[in-house]
Symmetry: C2
Subunit: 190 residues, 2 copies
C-alpha cells in the first residue's frame, strides 16, 4: 500500500533495537484519513471471504479493526490483556510473550463472542515476532471457528513473525512489509 509506505518514510522514526515508531499516525495519534484507507484495503484483500467477525487485541489494534469491521458490516471483538483467570470456563485464554515489556501476558476473549459458526478475520497493527497473532490464532482454534486470514498494517519481514503464522496455513496480507531498517531508513519489500 503505497500511501502507507510513503507515510512510514515521512513520519516513522527508526530507533535502536529495530524499533519503528509510528505513533504520530497509527498507534498514539491516529490519522483517520489513512485509517479509512487501511480499512478499505483490507476489505479489498479479503473480499472473497464471508467474514462474520473481525478480531484484534487491545489497544493499538482496535482502531484498525473498527474501520475494517465497518467495511465488512460485522462486529469487532478485541481480546483483553491481563492475568489468567485460571481456566475460567467462560473465557478463551492464550499466553503470549511481550518482547517490548519482556514478560508474558494472557489474552482473553469471552466464549460468547467467537463461536464455531464464525469466520474470523484477524487484524493487528504490527507483525514482528508473531506472539500476539499466535495467541489470537490459538483462541480461534479453541473456538473452532474458521479463520479467513490475517491482516497486518506493518510487517517487519526480517523478524520471525510471518514464518510462524504461515505454518498455520493462513493467508497473511500485510499493507507494508519492511525488509530492513538501517541508519534510520526504512526499506520495503515491493
Amino acid at each position: 500500500m503505497k500511501l502507507l509506505q510513503e507515510r512510514i518514510i515521512k513520519d516513522g522514526t527508526v530507533l535502536p533495537g529495530n524499533i519503528l515508531k509510528v505513533d504520530s499516525f497509527l498507534n498514539h495519534q491516529i490519522d483517520v484519513k489513512l485509517l479509512i484507507e487501511i480499512g478499505n484495503e483490507f476489505k479489498k484483500r479479503f473480499t472473497e471471504k464471508r467474514i462474520t467477525k473481525v478480531l484484534t487485541v487491545e489497544s493499538s489494534g482496535i482502531a484498525v479493526a473498527t474501520v475494517t469491521a465497518i467495511n465488512f458490516k460485522v462486529p469487532v471483538v478485541f481480546a483483553k490483556k491481563g492475568h489468567s483467570h485460571n481456566q475460567d470456563e467462560k473465557l478463551y485464554e492464550s499466553e503470549a510473550y511481550s518482547f517490548t515489556k519482556k514478560q508474558p501476558y494472557v489474552m482473553k476473549v469471552s466464549k460468547k463472542y467467537i463461536t464455531s459458526m464464525d469466520t474470523v478475520l484477524i487484524v493487528d497493527d504490527f507483525l514482528a515476532n508473531g506472539e500476539a497473532l499466535k495467541a489470537l490464532i490459538d483462541i480461534c482454534h479453541q473456538a473452532k471457528c474458521k479463520i479467513a486470514g490475517v491482516g497486518i498494517v506493518i510487517e517487519k519481514s526480517f523478524q520471525p513473525g510471518r514464518e510462524k503464522i504461515e505454518k498455520f496455513g493462513l493467508k497473511i496480507e500485510s499493507l507494508a512489509r519492511i525488509s530492513k531498517m538501517k541508519n534510520g531508513k526504512v526499506f520495503f519489500i515491493v
Copy 2:
C-alpha cells in the same frame, strides 16, 4: 439517544455493585452499526465547535473516539495507561484512580500530539466516578488547549463523575444517562 437506551435494556447486564456490563456491543465485542450512530450523535451535539483533535484513553474509548474523529475529519489521540515516567519532559502525565482495579494508574500523552493550538473533544465510553476524565482534562490543561466538551456514551448519573466534571465548566453530552439500576433493571434520565 433512544437506540442506545434500547440496546442497554436489551443486552446490558446489571451485576452486583452497580456494575453495568455492555461487553456484547460496546467494550469487548462492538456493534459497528451502533458505533457509527454514536459517532454521528457526537458530531451533531458538538457541531458548532471547531474541533481539531478527539482525545480518549485506551482501551475501550478508542473505537468510540475513532468513529467520532472520522466525522470531524480530525486525528484521534488516545492516552496510554502505565507507570509514571517520572516527569518525562516529552509527556503529559496525570494520575487517576481505578475503582475497578482498586489502584491508581498514570495516563500519558505525548506533548507532540496535543498543543495550545488545539480544540479538543474528549470522549469516553463510561462516566461513573469521573477519574479517567479528570485526568484527561488535566492533560488538556497542561497542554493549554481549548476543550470543546466531553462526550460520553453511558453515564451513571447516580455516581459523582458528572458533578466533578461540571466544576470545570465543561459541556458534557452523555448519550445515555442512567438514574438508577435496581433488581437487574436500568432506569434512564429522559
